[in-house]
């Protein structure tokens, strides 16, 4: 996915960020154990949230190890659980189809990156789809539907957003408890809707240049990629309705130790990211941070 959902570092305590890190590393190790080193590169924050949502309210046991990223210092990470295994399997399926989508969206030359990465992930995908056939099938079906809508091209927001949202909502299929399943489905559906729409908004300028399909541009007639105040107001209202569906669902299940990170992300983080995407500052902030990190690595 896209990295728009992330913990708001300035708001969340160091203790909670550490907890999030342990889950992030736990998912990475689980991916490595189940699918080999190559699969660990699909790891991102969105998949970590998936693992958190699918986990129970306890953190569970953790252990420490060195890894590629931290070869000297041992890092704590959560031991593999059924929930982490499920999240890892679903992450592989999502990442694989996203890469295939990248292949379909680009010409031969520009699709090379996606083609080679999806070839690397192919064995992992085969294993994951054998373990979770229903989820693999629903993901394939929804993405095929999304591709059809993009080819039309569909000038509405909700049909393509629904395809992506339903795809993510299906990640809760294997949850047994009926109330928990309903709550998770609603959170994941609207998180998917929010991610799809915010990604389209983020690509507005780029797509205006290249003439690529962009549901936000088509819906509001923003051919030059620039927001009008009226359209922006309408768009944020529809985003906020989805965030509201997420937060109201969140309050109906006890997420235990994960409550602070989920609360701060959904009640605050999504708004901050959404605003910076619409203001056009999100990409530069992220680029700046990457640069800073790279410089930090060089001087370290």
């Amino acid at each position: 996915m896209y990295g728009y959902v992330r913990p708001p570092a300035g708001i969340l305590s160091e203790e909670e960020l550490e907890r999030f890190r342990r889950m992030y590393c736990g998912l990475c190790h689980t991916l490595g154990q189940r699918y080999g080193t190559a699969a660990r590169f699909i790891l991102n924050y969105d998949f970590t949230y998936l693992a958190i949502l699918l986990s129970g309210g306890d953190e569970g046991p953790s252990t420490a190890a060195r890894c590629m990223v931290s070869p000297l210092k041992k890092r704590d990470y959560l031991c593999t659980t059924d929930a982490l295994a499920l999240a890892a399997d679903e992450s592989v399926i999502l990442a694989y189809w996203q890469l295939r989508d990248g292949v379909a969206d680009h010409d031969w030359l520009h699709g090379m990156k996606y083609r080679s990465l999806s070839a690397v992930l192919e064995p992992a995908y085969r294993k994951a789809s054998a373990a979770r056939p229903a989820f693999a099938e629903s993901t394939r079906r929804q993405l095929a539907h999304l591709a059809e809508l993009e080819a039309q091209p569909c000038a509405l927001l909700d049909p393509p957003a629904d395809a992506f949202a339903s795809l993510l909502g299906a990640a809760a299929q294997e949850v047994d408890h009926p109330v928990r399943r309903r709550v998770l489905e609603q959170i994941l559906y609207h998180l998917g809707r929010w991610i799809y729409l915010i990604d389209a908004a983020d690509d507005l300028k780029k797509d205006a240049k290249t003439g690529s399909y962009n549901p936000v541009a088509l819906r509001y007639g923003l051919w030059d990629g620039v927001w009008t105040p009226e359209c922006r107001r309408e768009f944020t209202a529809t985003l906020d309705h989805s965030v509201h569906m997420i937060t109201t669902a969140l309050e109906l299940w006890d997420f235990g130790v994960w409550t602070p990170v989920l609360e701060s992300t959904f009640y605050t983080g999504l708004f901050h990211v959404g605003k910076s995407v619409l203001d056009g500052t999100f990409r530069s902030i992220r680029r700046g941070q990457r640069k800073k990190r790279k410089n930090g690595e060089e001087t370290a």
Partner: protein
């Protein structure tokens, strides 16, 4: 029944004032207004019942001298019982504005109220008169499905066709007003453009080299 103190998330030693505050916060969170037309409203209603019962039990216990911590106050039970009477969840949402123009659309309303959206959709698809009420009900189904933008468009059409109808106008206003009054734990406004315009947004980066923001997939 669960321990009422646990339900309200307060220790038994909490003062009456603290209990009242905890109760008000929870009542605000699970209030019917916060779950307006929400597909999970039935779960919120259960929560609200539990909270009301817990609060009532505690005030009763304290009022009759069972627990004596904090200031004594039997009078407080009357002041906040009011939350319990809101109870406007689900059921009556559609019927209170008078009957439908047709028996099919009446069935659509019943299907929506019972959460059977597939049936509501099927009935609407087979109904050829796309009048104001049809558009309104289509909007109501869209909203519950999470198709927020389409919901608003159908409500708009319903309002254009029948500008005097209060039910349609209210639905459209709810979509347009957005979620500014939605529950937020810190009591701050709820919304993308209301989030205080943090100019130096801090995006968390866990470890360098890690694929946190999706390097491979989104660059």
């Amino acid at each position: 029944m669960n321990d009422p103190y646990q339900v309200l998330g307060v220790p038994e030693t909490a003062t009456d004032e603290e209990i009242k505050r905890a109760y008000r916060e929870l009542a605000r969170k699970y209030h019917p207004d916060n779950y307006h037309d929400n597909p999970l409203a039935d779960l919120a209603q259960e929560k609200m019942k539990e909270i009301n019962a817990a609060y009532e039990q505690i005030t009763k216990m304290r009022g009759s001298g069972g627990h004596g911590s904090g200031s004594t106050s039997s009078r407080q039970s009357s002041g906040y019982g009011g939350y319990g009477s809101y109870g406007g969840y689900g059921g009556s949402t559609y019927r209170q504005y008078g009957g439908s123009s047709s028996s099919v659309l009446q069935q659509v309303r019943i299907a929506i109220n019972t959460g059977d959206l597939s049936r509501a959709e099927a009935l609407l698809a087979n109904y050829s008169d796309h009048n104001a009420e049809w558009n309104f009900l289509r909007g109501a189904v869209c909203y519950r499905r999470g198709w927020m933008d389409e919901a608003k468009r159908y409500y708009q059409t319903a309002c254009q066709m029948d500008p005097g109808n209060a039910e349609y106008r209210q639905a459209l206003e709810f979509m347009e007003r957005g979620t500014q009054s939605a529950y937020h734990p810190n009591g701050t406004p709820f919304g993308t453009d209301l989030c205080g315009g943090n100019p130096c947004l801090t995006l968390c980066c866990l470890y360098s080299l890690c694929n946190g923001g999706g390097y491979v997939l989104c660059c």
